[in-house]
Symmetry: C2
């Protein structure tokens, strides 16, 4: 693994997790000491992240962490529903046994980590498995572009979900596992309309929870 790839992974991680907060200027000198490498691999990583809209760049004035806004979050979630609905229908049509068992496995792994949460389970591992579950639903859709946009939008919305995720107690009465299980059940039974409706509802509720949170914390 080259340094540039390490820099990319590390910066991406720190931005998504909120360790580098939105709007923060990313000075080359600071990054160089923080990640212990020269300018070149950092610049490469920052340019890739710029293309992904995780950082913004102004010529000769450097990079900053991309800002967050309620409007962008709602926009991204709306597009997630559009694209993932289509992808899910395709996957239900095209998916084979590997796909189906992958969903079962991902759901089970997610559940294990969900149950560990109250006793201090790693919240980032939970997030990783959540991502894996949603990807498992769509992976058989047969469209590389849909999967790419899924990843892009998931990353974008993940940044908004972090505050909720870190806020252990405030679950706002949702039973997340039940939602996931219901989606998985409908998908595995190949009830496309049900599955899409459940998935859309899942995201709409997420959007509302985020909006409520952002209204409080600013």
């Amino acid at each position: 693994m080259t340094l540039a790839e390490k820099a990319y992974a590390a910066l991406r991680h720190d931005i998504i997790r909120g360790e580098l907060p939105p709007g923060k200027p990313l000075r080359m000198a600071d990054l160089s000491t923080r990640y212990d490498m020269g300018f070149s691999p950092l610049r490469e990583a920052l340019n890739r992240l710029q293309a992904e809209r995780l950082v913004e760049a102004v010529a000769l004035r450097g990079f900053t962490v991309a800002p967050l806004s309620l409007a962008e979050m709602e926009d991204a979630l709306r597009l997630r529903i559009l694209i993932e609905s289509e992808a899910l229908r395709s996957a239900i049509l095209l998916g084979g046994d590997d796909w189906a068992s992958g969903i079962v496995a991902a759901l089970y792994a997610l559940k294990l980590q969900v149950d560990r949460r109250s006793e201090g389970g790693d919240v980032w591992e939970l997030e990783t498995r959540h991502h894996a579950f949603h990807r498992a639903l769509l992976v058989a859709c047969g469209s590389v572009w849909m999967l790419e946009f899924f990843e892009r939008l998931y990353t974008a919305t993940e940044r908004y979900r972090i505050p909720i995720l870190l806020d252990q107690g405030a679950e706002s009465g949702r039973d997340i596992h039940a939602e996931h299980a219901a989606i998985a059940e409908a998908v595995l039974a190949r009830r496309a309309d049900d599955a899409v409706a459940l998935l859309a509802a899942h995201y709409t509720q997420t959007a509302q929870a985020i909006a409520a949170k952002m209204a409080v914390t600013g």
Copy 2:
């Protein structure tokens, strides 16, 4: 404008236009002489293009121009229909006078260049105006993510359309201007269903023309 931005624009241009053909290895030394600059700005540009899937990178083995495939083209055009249909409906709902007159202007500018084509009009200018027309249709959709994905997919499909565009004679009996005019008319009359159907048909025909061309030329 920094050198890195120049490098990005030049490389992007040359790849999309096919001057750097699919699969071609992009050696740093060659690029350095070709564009007359050092490695650093080139690497930055290549990294951004990698994130846009216009070039592929393998660690320690350099960059190559991303390949083309019929399957990817059909995938991209299918997604264009999905996303642009939704964007077009939004734009028809939200668009004001600026948007509407922008469409009229873009269509007119496009027509001017189309008419110059038989007498050796610049084909790249034609392509620029074609892009501008399709963007003008959607620009009022109110979703930055949709517009971003539109640009991504337009760029991806543009590479496939180049052979057809350069092939002056072979028009396969389509009246492209009539198709654009019909779309614009339906959009301006706010007949969303008609407009979406016409746009989808426009793309489907394009996909077929590309597929036919690729079957011949390989």
